[in-house]
């Protein structure tokens, strides 16, 4: 097992590559989902403000 992770001495380069790619994918997914949440929240706020204006 440790032999697998050692990658014949190239561990730093290989896990550094795959690790960064994974990190970027996780951050991108989190950001896009957060953006959707914020957008929906703002739309609800806009709607509530509009309803008050009419009343």
């Amino acid at each position: 097992m440790s032999e697998f992770f050692a990658m014949n001495g190239y561990a730093f380069y290989i896990w550094g590559s795959y690790g960064l790619a994974l990190l970027i994918f996780i951050v991108e997914i989190a950001m896009v989902r957060h953006k959707r949440k914020i957008t929906l929240q703002q739309l609800r706020l806009m709607r509530d403000a509009g309803e008050e204006g009419q009343a």
């Binding site: 697998f4 990658m7 014949n8 001495g9 190239y10 380069y13 290989i14 550094g16 590559s17 795959y18 960064l20 790619a21 970027i24 994918f25 991108e28 997914i29 896009v32 989902r33 953006k35 959707r36 957008t39 929906l40 703002q42 739309l43 609800r44 806009m46 709607r47």
Partner: protein
Amino acid sequence: MAINWFKYSAPTAFYGLAGKLVPWFAWSSAILFAIGLYISFFVAPTDATQSEAYRIMFIHVPTSILSMFIYLVMAFYAAVGLVFNTRLSSMMATALAPTGALFAFISLWTGAMWGKPMWGAWWVWDARLTSELILLFLYFGFIALHASIDDPRRADRAAALLAIVGSVNVPIIYFSVKWWNTLHQGSTIKFSGTSMHIAMQQALFTMLLACWTYSVAISLLRVRSIVLERERNTQWVAELEEVRS
């Protein structure tokens, strides 16, 4: 029966369709990554000259291909938006840019991580590397230009021009290893065939599909927020289930 292809060019219909497609592409991507990584690390044999270091290829090559492919798709959508004045095309272009930029960055990063042990340098000003760096800057330029103009329709048009002019860089990246003497190697897979081990080809192809389905899923998810934001004053957005609740 004639299919109305223009139906989904309207943001209303497209918003629903994109919502249905996202989980399919996301799960396909997760499964393809699992298979691709398994083949990359457990099936593909150790390389004769590069030992285990060559395994960086399975993330480096697919992300590099997609960074160029996404740029062309983005420029295409931007051009369609510019010529036909279709709002949705421009929104798609805007949604693709961040993902393309991230793929270009992963490409450069993994290239550096591969270059250091094999060439002895993280970076060289070689034609392939330099033109890929310019691609990353073009993505940044597109995103920054679009963000700097308040009126979204004008932002679409200005950014579209940049995307179209910048697309000349994509063939330069692709052919750079042929046109110039580069430290970066040429393609091993050619139309005439390849000397690559079959498991390496399978790993490469599966990882490419995984990255492609990922980019489709994430862009569709992103464009849904852009559609909502830009159509916020319309009746159909106000009537959406997720907005009403």
